[in-house]
Symmetry: C2
Subunit: 365 residues, 2 copies
């Protein structure tokens, strides 16, 4: 209940009567109950001055208890109005309900309308920033899980390195990777596994397809697993057979850029400074215009969360933050290289969670 | 542009100036551009009296054009305020913007706040029902795609029947199924593939896990593929070795219940009547309390869409509607059977899109 007590403290400080938290990632973070209810209502109703309750689809109530929820559960079935049940259960707490906090970046307008209708147009406040600030710093338990998730991402790259053969399609290689992970009990990837070969790697948002691995290709793989509710995210670019000179040159620049950013990670540096350190290596090598995206993103229960590592973010990094560092160079129609690690800020520096080697791996065709 | 013209007509009839459509499934339906932009803004801005435009992340603009979008594209990058760009692009149309329609079941409150801020608190209307009404009736092109998607779901069950072995875990069987589909070019399932064995099949929302297939088990498989943006959804319950008498009895009741509902499908019957026909077979056999969910759900670009086939839905079925029929009996801790087909309403009856046989298949262990 520690995290929920924290929310109660926030409500008291903000002088808000209650908060309805419905983003499944936040519900998992606060309660340990990990569920994607799709269009159905799942949420925690937290009060400044009373016990919280969980609202969830009736058929999921046993799972919520199994996940350790000890408090009240308000159940709703598909033929009931879940917001009405939320309202009635709240009423029993006999608390003032003049101001309610919600996640504005998650709640839909129809639920917002229902809150206004049932609770008679309370003041509505956003609690997104406060939740993001809680989640952005990981505790030791979370770091252990993230290390394990990162290890499984390393394993996926090893599998790919051992499996890729000439003529194999991108989808076939992706299938080999995911099959190997399923054998280790991983049922969900943190996003669609990306395998891009040859010139296709030059598209930062290219899609795994039918192109066949060909001698001389760079093979870019971007993937991650969900392990105990937490995500990993790794990119490695391997060479299948001896690559051309340009590919080797670009690879080396990206590797230096990534290494420079890693070595700069410590409490007190800003996200923008990190982005700048990495970017300047690529700019000085003359490829600045081909590094077309931010340096990285926070990682945790969501595969993209706070902090965003981009040139406009002056947030100071703190111990316990976890994010990706993933510079790349993409020359359209020719070649693409990205190297991505998951990194945690320690009390005086950094810990790289993903360990797969970064010197250029050349697979013997 | 036919579907967008239809939206313009709806706006004129409702006397609304413009609509901002941002649900990726609706954007795909209206424009043919299939993209999941995650937290980034993707939408079509439709005006009652002017040309629509697409708003999308800059890096996706080439994909939108490749998908056939011929109109204007308003691009935004990660460092820009996408709603501001939406506002400025709208302004150039020089249209009145006193009333704007949105999808209230999709739009988040922060975007709603931004619309109110930029467009100076216009009247906001919901356009969800109108979009659902358009999507609920499938045209011939959509039906062809849905048939193909259903055929791939049949193939998945065939693969499972040929592959299951004693001692194989649920996750292993799921992996075999998905690997076979990937070889046919299917990169996305329409939801998490479910394989439940023995007593686990008695949980309608059980999760694929480590239980091993054992002689005498019923093996319940619920899965579907996404093919050209459209979903299929099939459930078959197979016997691994000779099942017990109770399992056989229950299987036969569910099969009769499903068949009775299928045969009643025609234009003019209500969703509630269908649910009742199926349910009464199970009730008369004495198992009514163990059929704990609605009969089915609409199927199309979303795996759960309109019409919902439940006892409270008095909507008349029309030619071109596509939905699942999926009765089940679940006796906790003992046995579970569900049989699910995808069915389309024809001009005088029905067409079953999924074809895998429904007499009890007994796999020889």
């Amino acid at each position: 209940m520690n995290k929920l007590t924290n929310i109660q403290q926030i409500l008291k400080q903000m002088q808000i009567d209650a908060a309805l938290i419905t983003d499944p990632h936040n519900v998992f973070y606060l309660t340990g109950f990990n569920s994607d209810p799709k269009e159905r209502l799942l949420g925690v109703m937290v009060f400044a001055q009373a016990e919280p309750f969980l609202i969830c689809p009736a058929m999921e109530a046993p799972d919520a208890k199994a996940a350790g929820w000890m408090g009240e559960i308000a159940r709703h079935t598909d033929t009931q109005d879940a917001m009405h049940i939320l309202y009635e259960t709240s009423n029993k707490r006999k608390q003032p309900m003049n101001s309610i906090a919600i996640e504005k970046a998650h709640m839909t307008v129809d639920r917002y309308d229902a809150i206004n209708r049932y609770f008679q147009s309370p003041e509505i406040h956003a609690i997104d920033d406060q939740l993001n600030a809680m989640r952005v710093v990981k505790d030791e338990g979370e770091l252990d899980i993230l290390r394990h998730a990162a290890g499984l991402a390393d394993y996926a790259i090893e599998v790919a390195a051992q499996t890729m053969r000439e003529g194999m399609t991108e989808i076939e290689l992706m299938t080999e990777i995911e099959t190997a992970l399923k054998k280790r009990g991983i049922t969900h990837m943190s996003f669609d596994t990306t395998v891009l070969t040859g010139p296709k790697a030059a598209s930062p948002h290219g899609k795994t397809g039918d192109r066949k691995i060909t001698k001389g290709d760079l093979v870019l793989m971007d993937l991650g697993v969900i392990y105990e509710g937490y995500c990993s995210d790794i990119t490695r670019t391997l060479a299948f057979g001896e690559p051309g000179e340009q590919a080797k040159e670009i690879y080396e620049i990206v590797r230096r850029s990534e290494q420079a950013a890693l070595e700069a990670v410590r409490p007190g540096i800003t996200a923008a400074e990190l982005d700048g350190i990495s970017r300047s290596v690529i700019e000085q090598a003359g490829y600045g215009e081909y590094f077309t995206h931010r340096l990285g993103h926070g990682l945790g229960i969501s595969v993209h969360e706070f902090p965003s590592i981009h040139g406009g973010n002056t947030m100071l990094l703190q111990e316990g933050m976890v994010f990706t560092i993933e510079p790349g160079i993409y020359i359209p129609g020719q070649v693409g290289v990205r190297i991505e690690d998951d990194v945690a800020v320690t009390n005086d520096g950094y810990e790289v969670l993903t360990k797969y080697p970064k010197q250029l791996t050349i697979i013997n065709p």
